[in-house]
Assembly symmetry: C2
Homo-oligomer: 305 residues x 2
C-alpha cells in the first residue's frame, strides 16, 4: 500500500476543500462524458438534467478514496463511482415524484418531473439505474471480472428492497404515524447508509482488498451514513432554504419522525459526533491514504448545508 | 453441440405445448424461490404480485433455449432467465402507471398500482430492476465471470434509454400525433425487440457461443420481436378482452399508430409471417437443438392471445 501517492500525501498537507474540489471536477467530467444526447433527446436530457445538477458527489468520491486506500487507482474505480452517482440520482428523481415525497425543488432547481413531466421522470430514473450497471460493466478497465461481479451484486442489493427501496417503503408507510427509534434506524440504515456503504466497499472490492479491510470500511460507512442522516435531520430544523438549496421544516410539516424528535438537537449532534469518532476509529489501522476518508467523516459531522 | 439432450430430441417428437409447459413450470419455480417475503413485507409482496402473475415467460424460455442451442445448460442460464423476467415485469409495472399508459388491468388482474398504490408500484419496479442484476451476479454458477459481465452490459443497454426506455419515450411522445412507419419501427425495435434480443443473445453468451452464432441469434430475435409486435397490434383489433386477458381496442382509443393502421390487417399478418420466416432462416445452420426456437417463432406468428 506504499505508493508514490501516499508518499506525496506525507509531505503535502492534506486540505479537504482542495481535495473535494479536485475530485468533484474529475467526477463531473466523467459523468458528463458518460451520457451523450442522441435521439430520443428528451430522455437523455432528462437524465443529464438531474445527473449534472451539482451535488457534493460524496458517493463517487468515497468510492475513489476507498479504492486508493486499498491500493487501487482512480481510473479503476471511476466507472463504478459514476454508476453510484447514477443510482443515487435515480433515487432522488423517484423520491421527488408526486406519489412519493412530492417535491418541487431539489438542490435549488425544479425537480425532474416538474421540468420533463412525471412519465419522463420515472423513465429517466429507470434508465439511470439500468445504465449504472451497463456503465460499470462496459467501462471498467484493469479490474478482474470477478471483482466487477461482486460490485454489481452489492450495488443491486444496496438499491433494491433489501436497501434503498426498502428504506423508502418504510419511510412512506411511517408518515403521520408514531415510529420507534428502531424503525427510524431501519429507514436510514437502508435509505441512506446502504448506498454510502456500497460506495466505500465497492472501491475496496475493485482494488482487491482482503475481507477485514472491506469489513472495516463497511463499518466506517455505516457509521458515517447514520451520522450524515442525523445531521440532515438537524439541518432541516435549523438551516435556511438558501443555505440548504432545498425546502426546510419539511419533516415537521409532514409529521415525519426524525432524530431530533427523539433526542432533541443537542443530543442528536452528540450522537452524530460519536458515530463519526467510531467511523474514524475503524480507519486507524490504515496508512496515510486514510486521510480523505477521515477528513470526509469530520466534514459530515461539521457540515452546515 | 452433440449432447444427450440433442440425441433425445432426435428420437422423441418435439411438442411445443409440452415443452413450453415444462419450461414455464421450471421458470415459475425459480422465480418463486428468487424473492422471499420479509420485512418490509409490502414491497416484496408487490414485487411478487406482478412477477408471479402468470404470463408466457417467453423471455426466460428463449434465454434457456438459446443457451442450450449454443451448448450450455438450463442451470447456467436460469438466474439470467429470471433476471430477464424481472426486468420485463418492471417495465410492465411502470408502463401501467397513471402517468404512463394508465392501465387498470394486466393479464386479467388489477395492475400493481391499483393494488399497492402508485408509490409502492414505482418502488417495486425499481427493486425488480436492481434485483435482476443482483440475482444474475449472485446466483449464476459455472459461468466464467467475463461472460456475466457481458450479459449485464447487454441487459443494462436493452432496458435503458438505448432500449426499452427509449422506445417507451417515443411511444408516449407519439400519442395523438401522426407517426411515420420509421418511428413505429423505432418504438417497437426498442420497446419490445430489444429485450427479446438480449433474452436470446444472453443465453448464447452464457454458453460461450462464438460471435457468428450470437449474430444469427440476434437477427432471429429482432425479427421475432417485430413479428410479435405486429401480431400484438392485430390482436388488439381482432381479439376480445377475455381471450387476451387485457383491454382491447386501446390503440384505436388512444389514437396510437399501429402496423394495421399502415398496412391493414391482412398485410400486417403477411409481414409478420415474412419476419418469422427470416427468423427461422437464421437458425438453419444449427442442429436439432434449434427446434424450440423454430417452434417458438411459428407459435408467435400463429398466436391468438
Amino acid at each position: 500500500m506504499v505508493t508514490t501517492h501516499s508518499a506525496s500525501t506525507d509531505t503535502v498537507p492534506f486540505v479537504l476543500p482542495d481535495y473535494l474540489a479536485e475530485r468533484q471536477a474529475r467526477v463531473e467530467a466523467a459523468l458528463d462524458r458518460a451520457i451523450e444526447v442522441v435521439y430520443p433527446e428528451s430522455i437523455y436530457e432528462s437524465m443529464r438534467y438531474s445527473l449534472l445538477a451539482g451535488g457534493k458527489r460524496l458517493r463517487p468520491i468515497l468510492c475513489l478514496a476507498s479504492c486508493e486506500l486499498a491500493g487501487g487507482t482512480v481510473e479503476m474505480a471511476m466507472p463504478t463511482a459514476c454508476g453510484l452517482e447514477m443510482v443515487h440520482t435515480m433515487s432522488l428523481i423517484h423520491d421527488d415524484l408526486p406519489s412519493m415525497d412530492n417535491d418541487d425543488y431539489r438542490r435549488g432547481h425544479l425537480t425532474n418531473h416538474k421540468v420533463y413531466g412525471e412519465d419522463v421522470a420515472i423513465l429517466a430514473g429507470d434508465a439511470l439505474l439500468a445504465y449504472a450497471f451497463e456503465h460499470i460493466a462496459e467501462q471498467s478497465q484493469a479490474v478482474p471480472p470477478e471483482r466487477l461481479i461482486q460490485v454489481m451484486a452489492q450495488l443491486g442489493r444496496a438499491v433494491g428492497a433489501a436497501g434503498l427501496v426498502g428504506g423508502q417503503i418504510v419511510d412512506l408507510a411511517s408518515e403521520g404515524t408514531e415510529v420507534s427509534l428502531e424503525t427510524l434506524n431501519f429507514i436510514h440504515r437502508h435509505k441512506t447508509a446502504a448506498l454510502l456503504e456500497v460506495s466505500v466497499v465497492s472501491g475496496a472490492i475493485l482494488a482487491g482488498a482482503p475481507a477485514d479491510t472491506r469489513q472495516r470500511l463497511s463499518r466506517y460507512a455505516q457509521n458515517v451514513g447514520l451520522a450524515f442522516q442525523i445531521i440532515d435531520d438537524v439541518l432541516d430544523l435549523t438551516s435556511t432554504p438558501e443555505a440548504l438549496g432545498k425546502s426546510v421544516g419539511k419533516d415537521l410539516a409532514a409529521q415525519k419522525a426524525t432524530y431530533p424528535s427523539f433526542w432533541g438537537i443537542d443530543e442528536s449532534q452528540r450522537q452524530a459526533q460519536q458515530l463519526v469518532a467510531a467511523a474514524k476509529a475503524e480507519l486507524s489501522a490504515f496508512g496515510p491514504l486514510r486521510q480523505p476518508l477521515v477528513a470526509i467523516a469530520d466534514y459530515i459531522a461539521a457540515r452546515t448545508h
